[in-house]
């Protein structure tokens, strides 16, 4: 008889001698005994499978730790490579730029044609310096990314608008935004995304139409979908994918300044956060940039006082 049953029979019924009990009781006790034995067997199986699982987990943990170390090492290598490459590439460029400038100072009798040639040289040098800086910034999305922390998007966008105040004012633009949530993100990188998208919306405005930009957000399942809508020059849908590629531009530098790194960096940042980025546009009809951020441990834009604060951020007024 199962030990536990034995004990209970002894304490409740006085004896353990099964033969002393009536037949019906014997059958009852037998089935109870079987039940006890079954529970024991099940428990043993469970313990064994738990042991296996915890062994697996220990192995998995070891493997994950190893991969994390590997990633940290790889990141450190990449950071050093990117820094050294950009630093060592900038140095000869500096020499070209400075000595070209010196050359033009020493030879005052340069004609207009020579001046133009020198102009192209210096412009090329300056452009390359910017490209190298941008490449470094692009590589740093991964290597200098911070851990995610709760980020108040409302405060972040307010800060961005303060940063862009001069540009917004100069273009006579108006930027508005709906109540925005708190999301898990790297605040420095999220700031870059907002600043780049809003900055672009202001920059690429139609000639006689002051830019109007609006930020909205909607919760779709496990993610927040942000939208930055503008009334600017629009983008031909057939170039929609290209503009996210590093250094790809749709305009000359004379038309609109820039190296074409901004959207590539935004996309990389958003993907680092586990989201995606895309756009919706038609030429001459404005553009809406969308990006998602996983909702995770985020807080919704619920507070009413926030809703009151959100709204017109005109160029000029804080």
């Amino acid at each position: 008889m199962h030990k536990l049953l034995q004990r209970q029979v002894k304490s409740h019924l006085g004896g353990e001698d099964l033969d002393a009990f009536p037949e019906a009781w014997k059958r009852l006790l037998a089935s109870v005994n079987e039940a006890y034995e079954q529970v024991d067997a099940d428990r043993l199986l469970l313990e064994r499978s738990l042991e296996l699982t915890s062994q697996e987990l220990i192995q998995r943990n070891k493997e994950l730790r190893r991969q994390a170390e590997e990633l940290a090492r790889s990141n450190a290598d990449l950071e050093q490579f990117a820094y050294v490459a950009s630093h060592d590439l900038q140095e000869p460029l500096r020499m070209v730029g400075i000595y070209t400038q010196l050359f033009t100072r020493r030879y005052h009798h340069l004609d207009a044609d020579a001046e133009e040639c020198i102009g192209y040289v210096l412009e090329g040098v300056q452009r390359m310096q910017l490209l190298i800086e941008d490449l470094l910034a692009y590589s740093r999305v991964g290597t200098r990314g911070q851990a995610f922390a709760p980020t108040d998007c409302q405060a972040t966008v307010s800060r961005v608008l303060a940063n862009l105040q001069a540009a917004i004012q100069e273009a006579g633009g108006v930027v508005t935004f709906d109540p925005l949530p708190t999301v898990m993100s790297d605040v420095v990188q999220l700031t870059q995304v907002f600043q780049n998208l809003i900055g672009n919306a202001i920059k690429f405005h139609r000639k006689d139409e002051p830019p109007r930009v609006h930020l909205s957000v909607v919760r779709k399942g496990a993610e927040w979908v942000f939208a930055v809508r503008d009334n600017g020059i629009g983008i031909d849908p057939k170039y929609a994918d290209r503009i996210f590629v590093i250094f790809q531009r749709l305009h000359t530098r004379a038309e609109y300044p820039g190296t074409g790194i901004g959207l590539a960096i935004c996309k990389k940042i958003v993907e680092r956060h586990g989201g995606r980025m895309w756009l919706d546009s038609r030429p001459g009809d404005g553009t809406t940039f969308y990006f998602t951020i996983p909702a995770g441990m985020s807080a919704p834009p619920a507070e009413r006082s926030r809703a009151e604060q959100a709204g017109q951020q005109r160029g000029g007024a804080a």
């Binding site: 630093h87 900038q90 460029l93 730029g97 400038q101």
Partner: protein, 145 residues
């Protein structure tokens, strides 16, 4: 005001930068003489009056690039600032790097100041003129022995 010819030791391996620095110092109103060495080892030989530099003067100011062949500029800085005889000579670090760790390291090693070489010609000239104005005209330099 310093009234003798100011002796400056420039530790720089890039001939382009040497020429620019030399020309800018030459334009100075204040009498100065620029001595140039191209690496850290040669700098120490100069400072210790050894080898070919037995008759070398003692510089009033050292302008130092961090990225040097053979003995690195940071090592040289450390050696100068821990040498009882040499450490009072002001060292102006003039280098291409603007990396935070380089700046901090230089100050940790007691560099007197850290300047990043500008990429624009006019800015470079302004910087060299500022060094000359500050360290040669405004500042009191420790007089030689």
């Amino acid at each position: 005001m310093n009234n003798h010819t100011v002796e400056i030791l420039l530790v720089e391996d890039n001939p382009g930068d040497v020429r620019l620095t030399r020309e800018t110092f030459k334009d100075s109103k204040l009498a100065n003489r620029l001595h140039v060495v191209g690496n850290g080892e040669e700098a120490l030989t100069f400072l210790r009056h050894a080898g070919q530099y037995t008759d070398a003067i003692r510089p009033d100011l050292i302008v130092l690039d961090l990225n040097l062949p053979k003995k690195d500029g940071r090592e040289l800085l450390a050696e100068i600032k821990t040498d009882a005889d040499l450490r009072r000579i002001p060292v102006v670090v003039l280098t291409t790097s603007k990396a935070e760790q380089d700046i901090l390291k230089a100050y940790d090693l007691h560099a007197n100041c850290y300047i990043t070489k500008p990429i624009d010609l006019d800015q470079f000239i302004t910087v060299v003129k500022s060094i000359e104005n500050f360290w040669l005209q405004i500042v009191k330099l420790p007089t030689a022995h």
